[in-house]
Symmetry: D2
């Protein structure tokens, strides 16, 4: 691109106050960004995420740092132009989706529940089979996945089939999952028959109390107290997970990270490894993970896209995810109960 030839070097300024960036700081997006550190040499930022600063580390390395981590003396990239004029180039169209023919008048330009998604299943079958071998598939789970017997069992099968490399969820997902293991219910309602059991709301509290009495979820599984479900499978297969706390939590389970900044750190550690993320029925966790997730990853083989699928019932949540900067996320509008069962079956059959 001609304008890059004339571009200046990227400019860095020193942090003087912990947690505060110099005025005019450059903020990262979800896209690959290149910084001209020496004339003619543009360095791609690795392990990016949106809304962070770019810090020049020793050895001319660039790191993507949350504002809260900035220390006095850190050298923060400044300049907000995206086309090279500030020594920064934001590359948005490296991985392009097929563009639509530009009609003056056309129907069906929006994503809604009416948008077909057969093809998304087929693409996911191919993608996940590939990523199972050579990628890192990170799942972000809302509690709806364990409110239903079949969905819960299908997700367990996905774990055992090797399609789950990391998990992020909240306290509720874990508690309801273990309640199902101990009592067959979630919040007191049977996950198959839907019957409300007598004094069923105690099941929820008994679950937390019992696990915390044992010491942790991990211990409860290891000692054989919890023998079925998603958390048992994850623990027994040593799949890394982060259970992030929220103000809505009962208990919480002692495994839950109740400092949200510490939880973000744990989540970002997963996000750095992720090559495909699938978020199921959780606005909070999907947007939170979206904040931490770049649209690309630098591997030995070069730069590759990071896929981010979001499954939810509501157009609002799909739009909100994009409205919060996750511009490359793809949403499927359906109930995750169906989605998980169908996906698992499709992956299984496709393999035969």
């Amino acid at each position: 691109m001609p304008q890059l030839v004339e571009a200046p070097l990227a400019r860095f300024e020193r942090v003087t106050q912990a947690g505060v960036a110099p005025a005019g700081f450059h903020a990262t997006s979800i896209f690959p960004e290149y910084f001209q550190l020496e004339k003619g040499s543009w360095q791609l930022v690795r392990e990016s995420r949106m809304d962070c600063t770019v810090v020049l580390e020793e050895g001319n390395d660039l790191s993507v740092k949350e504002f809260r981590r900035l220390q006095p003396g850190d050298l923060v990239a400044c300049g907000r132009k995206e086309n090279g004029e500030d020594g920064v180039f934001v590359h948005t169209d490296g991985f392009r989706f097929p563009s639509r023919p530009a009609e003056k008048f056309a129907f069906r330009g929006r994503l809604t529940r009416e948008t077909s998604f057969s093809i998304d299943y087929d693409e996911l079958y191919g993608l996940l089979r590939h990523e199972r071998q050579s990628g890192f598939i990170l799942w972000v789970l809302g509690p709806a996945v364990v409110f239903d017997r079949d969905a819960r069992e299908s997700f367990v099968k996905l774990i055992h089939a090797g399609y789950v490399h990391g998990l992020h969820a909240g306290n509720a997902l874990a508690v309801h999952d273990v309640e199902a293991a101990l009592f067959g219910t979630a919040l007191g309602q049977a996950i198959y028959s839907k019957r409300s059991t007598h004094l069923g709301h105690y099941n929820h509290l008994d679950t937390i109390n019992r696990v915390n009495g044992i010491g942790s979820l991990r211990k409860a599984v290891d000692l054989g107290h919890v023998t079925s479900g998603i958390m048992a499978a994850a623990v027994s297969r040593s799949i890394p997970y982060v259970l992030a706390g929220s103000i809505r939590d009962d208990g919480p389970l002692s495994d839950v990270v109740h400092d949200v900044l510490a939880a973000q750190d744990g989540m970002r550690a997963l996000a750095r490894r992720a090559t495909t993320v699938v978020a199921l029925a959780t606005q909070l966790h999907a947007i939170a993970m979206g904040n931490l997730l770049p649209s690309y990853r630098v591997t030995d083989a070069g730069v590759r896209p990071v896929y981010f699928y979001n499954v939810d019932m509501s157009e609002f949540v799909a739009s909100k995810l994009a409205d919060r900067g996750s511009l490359t996320s793809r949403s499927i509008l359906t109930n995750v109960q169906d989605f998980v069962v169908t996906l698992e079956r499709g992956l299984r059959e496709a393999c035969v």
Copy 2:
């Protein structure tokens, strides 16, 4: 019931103005209703529907008549008490769902997208296999069923497997289905790849124009112009259908009944035969069919329930259906694309 012993005979009054019931008329509900015509003899109304009058026909027969059909001289049942005091008994609890334990404090009393529905699939597999032999399964289809390749193909399989005895839909379902047959698109968007095709909105109009040029959908199928999809399958298997008009219609296809009262008559003819109804992603048609559908049917073997399932994405639509009197309908909150594919596969596998 003791109160019935003392009950008076049902009272009937004459219609004096066409289309107008006498003051104090009794209106039907979705439930079985009994009228005491002679002391000790309570007659059950057959082929009922909500919000109609009950007319005493010759030979002491009772018919359920829309207000608009009333003719001067008709004898209309009067009296609004439901427990026999007016010679009328409304029987609401003949077919009971398992009741919930009455807790003072409990979670999860409402139907939402979080409510599990594994069991609904299992019950539907059993029910539909039974009804295929000895019932009448009526489907009420919104256009979403044909916006997606897999859902459309699965529904065609349901037809060929004998699970579809009647169809009710609107102009859009039929037109989009035929557009998919002719062009591979629905409203110009490919039903598998989701690509918008160039000048794609003409596909919609060309479809209508072509079919109407041939004369009718039926003819277009018979002459081999339309060889795939739901309407082709329905026509070729002589499945009765009613395509009801709405003010939203383009065209419409010449097969569409554009007088809504005539359409209601056609729909009620189907409703009279139905033993199970499944409505997919259509608020308008689901509520309309709900108005015509009683909760029971009198067969040679006695009185049996009529099942009414409604599949939709929104809690609002599920509630609205009940708010309009379809109190015994059961709603499943998911995308019909997934629902149809899963249901068809489940029925197929269950049969093996």
Copy 3:
């Protein structure tokens, strides 16, 4: 535009079968469309609507005709290119909204419930005050407007203040409105206290039966049986209205047009006059009216935009309206109960 200089004349072909256009017909959009009838002379179509044919009438006049109205011998414009190459030019950007700065990375690109709408109220106050004098304000009403006392009363005030020049609704709106006048309820629930009244569902049927006994809504108002509400105000002020039938209707009221094609004709007669349309809480009627409504009107003073506002609770409905071709509609996502009350108050205060 240079390409127009070289453009051919528009091409017309004869209809040979009633209701069927010649192959290659041109279909209208919501936008102004110009046809080159003589070299250098481009004629703008008046009183357009989407998805219709353009017919060359005697005297070189162009009319926009529904397919179903085509008669053998009619001369229908053919050609589907939009930039003049077929003698047709579709002018999409005559009335432009301020475009957004094109950022590579930005938040909040979608319309959702989070989108602010203070400015929409302010623009509506100005617009409606202007249109009251010199335009034609057409309202499309869903029943939610009369389920709430304050909203219903506010709408009546809008009528009396001269902001309502035409009405389009369905049977339900009219019946619930009259039920409120006669019984203080809508479908049996009090429109202020929300209490369900004993045997309240009879109020609905008694309302229809009583009005049809009198002969018509118009007569019921004229004879003093119905003295409050929207329909009474509309009748007493001779505001033209179309009550369009649907298969969901009870009764219906004898004023309802139960042939949907006749109803469309009545709606289009209103749409031809409309300069601003406001649709409130009705997916069916909003999309139906959108089908009939062009984005412009030719007046003595020249070509002016037609404004189309849609107020609904759901992102899905807003998107669906655009997905069905009403690309210039503006949606406000809120409950019409609040909207009507706020709008009426704002118009009143702005006038002081």
Copy 4:
């Protein structure tokens, strides 16, 4: 009640492990609960909340304690029967809503967007005017309140008029509010004109960076950097607030409590004082506050109800709040932009 005469004393067991209740613990609900500590003497628990233990403190006092606060030696009430049989009586019907007539067949039994809410406004005007003098009105705010200019300004007026005694929100509400004060935008979109400003997403980050550079929101207001909006008004009027952290937070502002358990403690301190709570457009914070909020409060004048209003766009959120135990919450289904403006105006006018 006769059964209470025969009831045993409440039973208490000792905690042996920190954070873990003895098996068979009694868990609190939202309702008033009475414990028989001596024969014939039933003590009402004060400052309750759902899903906690009841601990017998010195001096025969009862405290409601989260599981995580339990210390070895604490005496925890055990027994799960609610009608006195375990020495515990849960009193659910002290404050009753008018019950509905029990019809066999009726319309409109559910709460939906179609449910009228004129009366809710009127009741709120009366309630809030009363509570302003003698209660504690706690607001739970989602960010939608500050995305719109008029809603934001109306809420500021509510603060200055004395209707806001406590605030609970998240980082986003505070950041967007201050962004509006500094830049006139929220997440880069103008809160009145809706225009996206060039590089607008920097406004969000600049806001956080600037406030954290100053040291805190409180300081930013006190030093005159932030002069308008909700947070400025709250700070300047010394209204207690808790900004609770979530994993979705950017920054966050240094005023945000990023340990969710500490945040819950702060929230419960507000909940203990609250007599009326109004939650606006926030599922997370509404449910979280609902967890902490009993349905009653013990004052010098006796036991009074605590009112909990929830305003949201979606039936799902309203149902979910009840599904999570906030059984006495009342939901109004509308956009909070309209709600806040209308409420403020109504309170102002009612006072004249």
